[in-house]
Each structure stands twice: as C-alpha cells, then as structure tokens.
C-alpha cells in the first residue's frame, strides 16, 4: 500500500511539465469551486440570519398597499377567519393603521390662512386628535410634505403649493401626523407584545372602549400620564398605559382597541394588515404560498417581514444559486480534467501496465495506483487552489452580492417607489451589509471532500480501463 502510494507519487511527476500544467488548471478549477462554496455558505448564513431576524411571522396587506401608501381594498374580519384556517398558521392578528392629524393644525388650514400646507402631509390622514406629534418635521418631514403637496394626493383634495394661495413663497409650517394602530390584543402589528412601561395593557376591546396606549415621547410631549385623557375624532380616550416601542417613530404613536379605532374613523370591519404567526420557521415559505392562495393573490400581498428584507433575501438567494451552480460546474470541470488526463496517461502506459500484470500485479493494485496518482495531482491542485480561494473568496462573494443587489435595486427603482416616498429603496442592500466570508474548517473539509470525491470518480474510469489492458501488451512495441 505504501509502495503503491510511493509509486503513484513518483508517476504523478514523471512528466513534470504536463503535471505542472495539470496542477495549475486543477488549482484554478478547485480554487474557483472553493470560493464559490465559501460564498455560498456566507450568503446562506446571511439569509438565515435575515430570516431569523423576522422570525416566523407573515404580514398580509391589501394587494398594492403598504403602510399608508398605495391603494387596494381593505381587509376584513372574513379574511382573518380564512387566514386562521390555513395549515401551519398558529395565530392571526388583525391591525388597523391610522394617521391622525392634529386638530389645531387642521382648524387653521380649514380657516384658509395656510391652505395647502398643513393638509399636504404624505397620504393625508384618517382622523384627528388632540395630541401634538412629538416629532418635529425637520428637513425630511418638510421635504416629504412638499412632494406630497405637489403631487396633490391629499384625500381632501389639497391643492398643490404652486396654486396654494397665500401659502406661496412663505415658510410652511407643518406637523407630522400621529400614527395610531388598532389592535385586537396585546401584540403590535409585528406580532410582538407591546412593551408597556407604566399602566396596563388594553383590556377592553369593545367598539365603545375608550382605552388607549400612548408612546413615551408622545406622552411626554402632551403631558399625558396613566389616566389622562385626549381626543380622537372628538371622542375622549383615556390613557391605560404608556409603552416604549424602541424607536422615536414608534413612540410617537398610540394603540387603540381595534373595534374602537374602526368605529372612530368610520372604517367598521376594515383591517389594514394581518400578522400571521406560522408554527415553525421552516413552514414560513409554504404557508406564505397557501395563505396567498386562500386569500386571493389579486387581493392581498403576503410578505415575510419587510419588503426590504424580501428583496435582500431574494437577491441573496440568487447569489446563493449562482454560487452553487458555479461550485458544481467548477467541481465537474476538475473531475473532467482528471478524467481526460488520466485516460491519456493510461493510454501512454499501456505497455507498463502490461508489465505489471505480467509479473503478477492484481488489477485492483494497478487501479489503485492510478487513482492515487490522480489524487496526488488533485491534492496539490487543491492546496494551491484553496490558498488562492482563501485570499480571493471574500472579494468574489462581495462582488457577486453587490452585482446582484445592484440589479435588484434598479429593478425596484423602476417600479413604484419613486419621488418622495419613505426613504425609497436601497434598504435591501443595507440589510445585506458587508458580506464577510470566513473559511471554517467544516466548509473547507466539506469542499475538499467533494473535490476528492469528484476526482476519484474522474479517476475511476481510467482505473477501470487499466483492468482491460492484457498482459500480452508487454510484447508489443510502442
């Protein structure tokens, strides 16, 4: 066995120039294969990290709508029932998202002194409230306000700034609306339990309920405590608890009992989004499909987490596919190189194989010798190739990912989200972030195992050919 190996190593370098060339070609193929494997793993890890970050929630929106943008028909209680009947769905929460304008601002606007400014927030509003937004519009808010006004999309037909009467040329004042979410339980629209820091969770979910939860910054701005009151569409609401949503934007909102929110804003029975919990993360994809089918793909959009996440995951998934295909292609190439070179070698050494047989070498010893000879070349190629891969795979993976997110971003840019939307696209790329590749021992061993397996397969055919050489070949001239 040891002597067979020694002979194989010796034979591998009988023709140094050819062996050198073969090693270089193998190194390129194997290096490419390893880089692709590493990229594949890195991307796969990132995908599961991204997926893990949303957990097993699905969000159902009316088709064509997201948040306060877009159109479509609202969802209803019937959809909740249908969604609950879908397999693997463990719970369904319906929420209604509302934007409440501050009453004073509206009053001023209606008085006509500043027509077109206050009303022109993006998407307008669903009702009014006595609460003042805790968030200053700032540059971003004003920019969005302007574009919203220019496009004239306010539900009350607010005129654009160009023909906005005496709003012309003046510095426009504007307050951000307060967002309100109608919930039917203690969970927010993302399926997380609302983090109440003082007071209690909502407990009365009747249409006549006057309970409300207020975000910390909003409560501070309006001097609200547990038990304080404010109005929503002229109805007096009582603060049941103060919550902390984690971000300034979230804390500038309120939670209302769903039925009460529907009634207050005259949207009885309507729901803007469903949050569906799936029993396990493996079933998220299949449930997404069955949920879409159950509710009608023309009526609803079902997304796992945010759309940014979706685009990030789908562009990453295509990178994953590309890298997997490239990995396999490079492996097969390496296998073919081994196959062809060994067939050549066997043909060249027919006579010598005949000698070995004539002096009593069993077929399997000769076959083993040739397989080992091939493996010697492959191992050297693999060592060189892997070294190259270690230094280049990070670059290759990043290049692959950025090329793909660039196309995904361009595609997204052409559809819908133009102008002064909510920060536009590019969120997918942000989610992907910088892809760092690490070559773990597991990946390395797995890749090398695959390379050796393919090489051995490639060497088997030539080895089998040696079995067909007859000992009498020894008497033939070359």
């Amino acid at each position: 066995m040891l002597s067979v190996l020694a002979r194989s190593v010796g034979n591998a370098f009988r023709n140094k120039v050819r062996s050198g060339a073969v090693v270089v070609i193998l190194a390129v193929a194997i290096g490419l294969a390893m880089s692709m494997l590493v990229a594949n793993q890195a991307v796969g890890d990132r995908i599961s990290a991204l997926k893990g970050s949303v957990g097993n929630n699905l969000t159902v929106n009316p088709a064509g709508a997201r948040g306060f943008q877009g159109g479509g028909e609202p969802l209803t209680a019937a959809d909740v029932t249908k969604a609950k009947a879908v397999a693997h769905v463990s719970s369904v929460t319906g929420t209604l998202s509302l934007r409440l304008r501050t009453e004073t601002a509206t009053t001023t606007a209606q008085a006509g002194t500043q027509a077109g400014t206050a009303q022109g927030g993006p998407g307008g509003g669903d009702g009014t409230t006595s609460l003042q937004s805790a968030v200053e519009p700032g540059t971003l808010g004003n920019r969005q306000n302007q574009s919203g006004a220019q496009s004239g999309q306010g539900p009350q037909g607010a005129p654009g700034s160009g023909n906005g009467g005496n709003g012309n040329g003046t510095v426009r004042t504007f307050t951000l609306p307060v967002s309100a979410t109608g919930v039917a339980g203690t969970e927010d629209a993302n399926g997380n339990t609302i983090n109440v820091t003082s007071g209690k969770q909502l407990s009365n979910f009747a249409a006549t309920s006057t309970q409300a939860l207020v975000g910390t910054t909003l409560a501070q701005k309006n001097n609200l405590k547990v038990g304080s009151t404010f109005t929503v569409d002229s109805t007096k609401m009582t603060v049941a608890g103060i919550f902390d949503g984690g971000t300034v934007f979230d804390n500038n909102g309120i939670y209302l009992p769903l039925a009460a929110a529907q009634k207050l804003t005259g949207q009885t029975g309507q729901i803007s989004a469903l949050t569906v919990k799936v029993d396990s993360i493996e079933n998220v994809d299949s449930t997404k499909t069955s949920l879409t089918n159950a509710l009608g793909s023309t009526r609803v959009d079902v997304t796992a987490g945010s759309r940014n996440l979706d685009s990030a995951v789908s562009s990453l998934a295509s990178v994953q596919n590309i890298s997997l295909i490239a990995f396999i292609a490079a492996l097969v190439t390496a296998g073919l190189i081994v196959l062809l070179i060994m067939i050549m070698v066997v043909r060249e050494r027919r006579r010598e194989i005949g000698v070995l047989k004539a002096i009593g070498a069993p077929n399997r010893t000769i076959g083993l010798q040739f397989v080992l000879e091939a493996l010697v070349l492959v191992v050297i190629g693999a060592v060189v190739g892997t070294a190259v891969a270690v230094f280049s795979s990070s670059g290759i993976a990043s290049a692959l990912v950025s090329a793909n997110t660039a196309t995904a971003g361009a595609r997204g840019g052409r559809g819908g989200f133009g102008g002064g939307g909510f920060g536009g696209f590019g969120g997918g790329a942000q989610l992907i972030g910088n892809l760092t590749t690490t070559i773990g021992p597991g990946t390395l061993l797995g890749g090398l195992g695959a390379v050796l397996l393919i090489a051995a397969l490639g060497a088997l055919v030539p080895a089998w050919l040696t079995a067909k050489v007859r000992p009498i070949e020894v008497l033939r001239g070359e």
Partner: protein, 230 residues
C-alpha cells in the same frame, strides 16, 4: 512438471491468418534446463507468452503440475504469473522510472513480502547478476541494455518461481557475463529444482541445456545431437 498439449496460436492480420504456434506438444520434468531455438519470427516469443499465461492459446492446454492453466479464471492466472512463473522479457520491460532495486522488489510486493525482506532479497539478487551496489538505486531508464537485461533476470527470480521463461536472456551480454547468467540459471535447476526454458540464438547457452527444441513453421521438434552438456 510442465506439459504442453496440442497448443496452437493464430493471429489474424488483415485477410489471412498466421499460425506461429501450430499444434505444439512437449513436456518438461521439474528441474529441466531446456532451450528453444529457431529463426527470427518463428514464434518462439509467442510460445513463451502462452506458457507464461501472458496470452491465451487459440487451442490446446498448458498443464503445470497437473493444473490446466488454460482454463484458470483471471484471478488465478494473476497468481500463477506472480508465484509460479518468472518471465525474462526479450525487451527487458523494466518500469523505467523505478530504480533497479525497486523493479526487482515489485513482484515480491505483489506477493505481499515484507518490505525489509524485499529490499534484502532484491539486493542479493542484483549481486548475483553482478550488478554493483551503486547501480541498484539507479533508475531503470538510466541503465545500459545489458544492465537492464540482468535486472530483468533478477526480477524473474524474485518470487522463487517454479518455472523461469527467459526470452534471449544473454542476447545483450558480453561472453563473460553471458556465461555467468547461464551458470546462474543452470544452478537454479540443480539447487532449487526450477524448470528453466530459454529462447536463444546463443549456441554457448544452448550447449549447456539438458534439452533443446527447434521451432520451425509453427512446429516444435526436439533436437538430439552428439555434444550434450550434461
């Protein structure tokens, strides 16, 4: 005991067939030193390859100690070539990128002899064919024709075969070294009771053998003449 019964070998070349070995029969007692003589192209190498199971006869049987070699399965044939036969090829056929010693060790490796033992025996055999120690570790393709021929002989002796089939074993050797090889082969028939069958044009060698056969037109005939070297 080597028995050859009605062995024929025919080759098809183009539209006509040639029969270099045609209905050959003879037998050799164990320990016989025998020679096959004949013109070039008369089929001597072909006959030897049939006896050494390098090739299959078109018809006829080769019996070794009562075992019909012609009907053995491939696995047994390999063992037969390895353990019972020592073949000295006309073209030497050493493995070119192995050293002289490694070439001699090869048959022993296939016979699963321990490495240290292989090395010792290979060195000893090479000494016997008068190859000095500095040649032992030289690659076979760096050896002269006569040196290669002697390595080939040493290799044939490696597994102590019952039968040695040598195709012109002295063809490339000077008179003195040829003598030595003849003596070596002859002594094997005496001390180890090895059957040695040589193909030769060398009359010095032929004269030392116990029996001589002449192959002509495919037929083998034994020659009896006055100068027997017994």
């Amino acid at each position: 005991m080597l028995e050859v019964r009605n062995v024929s070998k025919q080759f098809k070349s183009g539209d006509h067939t040639i029969k270099p070995v045609n209905d050959v029969s003879f037998s050799l007692e164990q320990g016989t030193f025998a020679a096959i003589l004949g013109k070039s192209g008369s089929g001597k190498s072909t006959l030897l390859s049939l006896l050494g199971a390098l090739d299959k006869a078109t018809s006829g049987d080769v019996m070794v100690d009562g075992v019909n070699v012609s009907t053995l399965p491939d696995g047994k044939l390999t063992a037969y070539r390895r353990n019972d036969i020592g073949f000295v090829f006309q073209q030497y056929n050493l493995v070119p990128n192995l050293t002289a010693k490694e070439n001699v060790m090869l048959p022993m490796e296939f016979a699963r002899v321990r490495r240290s033992e292989r090395q010792a025996r290979a060195a000893e055999l090479l000494e016997q064919v008068e190859l000095e120690a500095d040649v032992h570790d030289r690659k076979a393709n760096r050896l002269s024709g006569g040196q290669q021929q002697r390595v080939s002989i040493a290799r044939a002796l490696a597994n102590n075969p019952k039968i040695i089939l040598a195709d012109e074993p002295t063809g490339n050797l000077d008179e003195q070294t040829g003598e030595l090889i003849i003596e070596l082969l002859r002594s094997l028939t005496r001390t180890q009771n090895t059957t040695v069958l040589v193909v030769t044009h060398d009359m010095a060698l032929a004269r030392k053998t116990d029996r001589r056969f002449r192959l002509a037109k495919g037929s083998l005939a034994e020659e009896f003449d006055r100068s027997r070297a017994r």
